[in-house]
């Protein structure tokens, strides 16, 4: 397993899921890919399918409509998969907690299908790209313990 995890850490592929975000977090996720932050130096690239992904970068409050879709995406991703809950909304639904169209928060939604999911929280509205890089580094530590 050591070789597999060593290889996985050098090539985390990211699938970006928007579960009802205002797009501010999505803009910060795009900033991660620009030369200033350049996450490709860590081997991370955005991929177009959850079946290719090692990381789900989830932004947004997780609305009722998005909730079953997020669970389906999580099931489609190859395990082990790290979920980054990016932004205050993805962390705990932010200011939208008491709105009628909310589902459960991102972490509860994913734990409903996999109680042992690896979830890293990136607070902020929006979080800085550096904070997302820090979350990925923490995810590496978790992958080491698998």
């Amino acid at each position: 397993m050591a070789v597999k995890h060593w290889a996985l850490k050098k090539s985390l592929w990211v699938y970006h899921v928007n579960t009802g975000a205002c797009n501010n977090c999505d803009i910060e996720v795009l900033d991660l890919l620009t030369p200033r932050f350049d996450i490709e130096r860590f081997g991370m690239i955005l991929v177009g399918s959850p079946r290719h992904a090692d990381v789900l970068a989830v932004t947004g409050t997780c609305t009722r409509q998005a909730m079953p879709r997020l669970q389906e995406l999580y099931r489609q991703a190859a395990k082990p998969v790290v979920v980054l809950a990016i932004g205050s909304c993805a962390g705990a639904q932010g200011i939208f907690t008491e709105a009628y169209h909310m589902g459960s928060p991102v972490d509860e939604t994913i734990r409903a299908v996999d109680p042992n999911a690896i979830i890293a929280y990136v607070p902020g509205c929006p979080p800085k790209p550096e904070a997302m890089i820090a979350a990925v580094v923490k995810a590496w530590d978790v992958i080491d313990t698998l």
Binding site: T63, R64, M67, Q71, R75, Y100, M102
Partner: protein, 176 residues
């Protein structure tokens, strides 16, 4: 229609361009709340909604900017906001969808721009639009129950929230 009295607004004098627009609608206007150089608020006869919409659309430079709904004591107030671009004014025409049935005539067959916004008002407030060409659900989630209207005044955003849908079946369970 029902016996609910249609509220009559304070009648202000018609003046300026907005006054001309409201004057052109004749006795379909049953009350004028505001009429100044930029903005007009008028209540119109619920029986003549479609006729008023047709007349507004026939004027030069008018378009339906949007429509909004308010849950009021006697039913649902539907507010059609008309922009008149050359003069830079907005005229709001209110219609009361009165009584327990909360129904007014749809203007969507005459003004296609009203199609989706009437569907949205039906979803969120429960106003009914008679003669709407396509009254399917527009913005609420598919799992939302029928007959629950989240923007009504008596709906509590937390307490009255319907139960969440279950997780979709896992792939191995989904196989036949």
């Amino acid at each position: 229609m029902s016996e609910v009295a249609i509220p009559r607004e304070v009648q202000v004098p018609l003046e300026g361009f907005v006054g001309e627009v409201l004057g052109a609608l004749g006795d379909a206007v049953i009350g004028v709340e505001r009429c100044d150089e930029r903005r007009g608020f008028a209540r119109i006869d619920p029986q003549r909604t479609v006729e008023v919409a047709r007349r507004m659309l026939a004027m030069a430079g008018t378009r339906l900017a949007t429509a909004t709904g308010i849950d009021v004591r006697d039913g649902i107030d539907v507010l059609y906001h008309w922009c008149i671009e050359p003069q830079g004014v907005v005229v709001t025409l209110k219609v009361l969808a009165a009584g327990p049935e909360m129904t007014v005539d749809s203007i969507a067959p005459v003004v296609p721009a009203a199609n989706w916004i009437e569907r949205e008002m039906h979803d969120l407030l429960g106003a009914n639009f008679r003669g709407h060409p396509d009254m399917r659900r527009l913005i609420l989630d598919d799992s939302w129950p029928e007959g629950v209207y989240p923007l009504r005044k008596d709906f509590d955003q937390v307490r009255d929230r319907p139960p969440l849908p279950p997780a979709p079946p896992a792939p191995e369970e989904a196989l036949p």
